[in-house]
Amino acid sequence: MAATDVVDRIKAHIGKTQKPVTATVEAGHLKRFAEAIGDPNPRWLEEAPPTFLVAIAPTSYHLDEAEQYGKGWLNGGNRFEYLEPVKVGDRITATGKVGDVYEKSGSSGNLLFIIFETEYTNQHGHTVARLRGTAIRR
């Protein structure tokens, strides 16, 4: 399949909201996450550290078409916006969508950029955070 066809098929996902994922913030999960980062701050026994929400729902969801472009994934960047704290016991719902898809030429060939946007809401219906992730196929 020509690369342009693949790109067009991936672009067809832009703006489509994915099925929301809901999970409870568990104390044990927070502890393991903080230990993995090596952050001993006791605050994270009760509250989510800045990057924890990625562990509740993936920043990118599986796009079969994207696997047909290039050899592998790279993470280009992440942007977090925080509106309310996330605490142990909160029920968090993550809703993701593809925000944008574009190609760029790099030094070792073309790269495909896929922008994933995720909004996180809590059990009270409040938006607690937004995340933007730049996934790159190369």
Binding site: H29, R32, F33, E35, A36, I37, G38, D39, N41, R43, P49, P50, T51, V54, A55, P58, T59, K71, G72, W73, L74, N75, G76, G77, N78, R79, F80, E81, Y82
Partner: protein
């Protein structure tokens, strides 16, 4: 350090010593099981020197740099990172930050992560609200 928040000032640095064990811990805790972070053969098969740090693990380190500095003096409002290079385990990863703007209670910072050669492999910024 109640009033010592001035543009141009660097915040205390944080030096991390990531290991392959820590990459596996992060894979498990985050749910990111992409093999380039724990399978040497797989990583080399996609033209990497070996397993590499998760971008989001480096973001986690920079998040710690920020929350260590903020303490209970304020709230992290936004945080952005751009991954410009790969980092491998068993090398120190140095997290640094500098205050770029202070406007009343609103503080902006640049943050970055350096490899052992001082190369900035992660660039980022953050906004903090004091009080």
């Amino acid at each position: 350090m109640s009033s010592a928040v001035k543009a141009g000032e660097e915040i205390p640095e944080l030096v991390k010593h990531p290991t392959t064990r820590q990459l596996v811990q992060y894979a498990g805790a985050s749910g990111d099981f992409y093999e380039i972070h724990y399978d040497q053969d797989f990583a080399r098969g996609v033209n990497l020197p070996g397993v590499i740090l998760h971008g989001l693990l480096k973001a986690g380190y920079l998040g710690q740099l920020l929350t260590d500095w903020i303490g209970d003096r304020g709230t992290l409002k936004s945080f952005e990172v751009s991954y410009r290079g790969i980092d491998v385990p068993d090398k120190p990863y140095r997290c640094r930050g500098r205050i770029t703007k202070v406007d009343g209670k609103d503080v902006e910072l640049e943050v970055w992560g350096e490899d052992e050669n001082g190369q900035k492999t992660t660039l980022g910024s953050a906004t903090v609200q004091l009080g």
